[in-house]
Amino acid sequence: MLKIDGVSRRFGEVTALDEVSLEIGQGEFFALLGPSGCGKTTLLRIIAGFETPDAGTVTLDGEDLLAKQPNRRPISLMFQSYALFPHMTVAKNVAYGLERERLPRQEIKQRVGEVLETVGLSAHASRKPAQLSGGQRQRVALARSIVKRPRLLLLDEPLSALDKKVRADMQLELKRLQHEVGITFVVVTHDQEEAMSLADRIAVFDSGSVRQVDEPISLYERPRTPFVADFVGANNLFQGTASGLDGIKSAEFGMLAGTPLTDLEPGAKALLAVRPEKLVLAEGNATRGLSGSVLDVSFYGGVSHLSVDVPGHVKPVLVAVQGASSVRQGAKVKVRWEAKDAVIMAADQ
């Protein structure tokens, strides 16, 4: 449906996008993930028509999008900074897009009422944006873009100012729009859980380039590059050299068990990544595993994170355990994992 091909955009010295190519299917929920400043907003603005790429093409169902004026594109963009009309009430802001389609008054009124109900702002319909809290503004912006039910919805960090409860409701609503109305979504989010739970596919960006496009579980479990492994979720990375199908050879720890995702020349520099929740913690006198001592235990509501200092490894190793942990700071422990739970990839040059 949406095809982005070799799109680049430079701002003076800065390369915001560097030959980005993506294909997004009809009805797909597509998430963009990447560090701050990597070009996500720029890409959305190009699709919506507010930036012109220096190179590359963007087509929607085969039709050249770049040739179209922004107001003729069947696309809604929710701006990262909301861009609410300050002189209009909340209801007027939301009705704006519908009025442009010359829908009957009655229908506009009804749809605006419904969407305000959905975002929980019915009581605020006649206020001006300046009289709203930050999260309320964000919800108005969201309502304004979803009420149009465009073919393609671009959301730039749509839920970042919302609390967990409201956010969950909004996520449900977005899913409903995807399934019932068949809208295609491209959503920028820095919330990985959100990306993981909502998206059909996720593109990971870095410095203006796409690093990996994959389904959430694949992305999480089979990162292709050290950047993705490190960026998506927490990960423990060990350096070494490739050594057959079941591990890498590490200078400090000898063989470390793991599964290579791609062919690697034996002896080539390689990286092994293993998730904190895949790690198993054993008593310090257990036979297998890397020895270390617990540096810190922190409780993240539901899960406890332990950082374990493993002599020979630069960063502390992170371990996640369900519930409050019984292990105390300073305890001597062993850390180990299964080969199938660790992935091996080529190290960056």
Binding site: A83, R100, K148
Partner: protein, 279 residues
């Protein structure tokens, strides 16, 4: 509480210099002038300090009422045209890169650093019977057109003379608008004209109001242009006041006419403020 003391101090610091200045150099002289409205003209000019309300009675003269109405009309037409011409200009200047912005802005006022009367004469040269435009038309075997000495010429001259007074406040108002709002509007399906009507215009309304006031007021009170481009064949309120002060040396009635003009304008300003607040 100290917050409100701070606020009062702020009000004092910001308001008192300008208001003191205006009190001394505007309100006092104005009060002097307005006191003449209840006195009489001396036989040979000057003021005789005998109370009378006759000056106000004279205002009802259909001649003066007619001129006021006509002036309102001409000033209104001028203002609308200046707005239509000035808005797109101000809008584009506001979008220019910064270094061009200042140049374009100064270029709007630069012609006005010559002299009013010379500029108006330049229009005479352009529009007159044997003038430039008619000479041009003649080459094509057309014309000559009666371009000068009619209300059209007055309006053209007024628009020309007061265009910067429209463009500059508009610029100041438009320049501050967040471009993302226009983008949001386009994104929601609004054609450029709709975006203009629904977003840009309402948000720049204070500038529109100020610009309109700036053009309307001097147009309403102008006297040179009706003389030179209108051929004095239709005069405006400014001519009336001028005639009273200069030809008739009738300060009392001149002041009374001025008071009437101020009253009309204040009504307009109040309406403007009201509209601006509603917007």
């Amino acid at each position: 509480m100290s917050r409100s003391r701070g606020r009062r101090l702020g009000a004092f610091v910001f308001l008192s210099p300008g208001l003191t200045y205006l009190l001394v150099l505007l309100l006092v002289p104005l009060a002097l002038m307005m006191s003449y409205t209840v006195f009489q003209r001396g036989r040979f000019g000057g003021v005789v300090y005998e109370f009378t309300m006759e000056n106000f009675a004279r205002l009802a003269d259909p001649l003066y009422v007619g001129v006021v109405v006509e002036s309102l009309k001409i000033a209104a037409v001028t203002t609308v045209i200046a707005l239509l011409v000035g808005y797109p200009t101000a809008y584009l200047i506001a979008q220019l890169p910064r270094k061009w912005k200042t140049i374009a802005l100064v270029a709007v006022v630069l012609p006005f650093w010559t002299n009013f009367i010379i500029r108006v004469y330049a229009w005479v040269i352009l529009l007159s019977g044997p003038g430039l435009i008619n000479s041009g038309l003649k080459v094509f075997g057309l014309g000559p057109l009666d371009l000068l000495y009619n209300e059209g010429a007055i309006v053209a001259g007024l628009v020309y003379s007061y265009l910067p007074l429209m463009v500059l406040p508009l610029f100041a108002a438009i320049e501050k608008l967040d471009p993302q709002l226009r983008e949001a509007s386009a994104n929601l399906g609004a054609a450029p004209l709709t975006t203009f009507r629904k977003v840009t215009l309402p948000l720049s309304l204070p500038g529109v109001m100020t610009g309109c006031l700036f053009v309307f007021v001097p147009s309403f009170g102008n006297f040179v242009i009706p003389e030179l481009l209108g051929g004095s064949k239709s005069i405006m309120v400014g001519n009336l006041i001028r005639q009273q002060f200069l030809s008739a040396r009738d300060w009392p009635f001149g002041s009374t006419l001025a008071l009437a003009v101020i009253a009309v304008l204040i009504v307009l300003v109040v309406v403007q403020a009201w509209v601006a607040r509603r917007a």
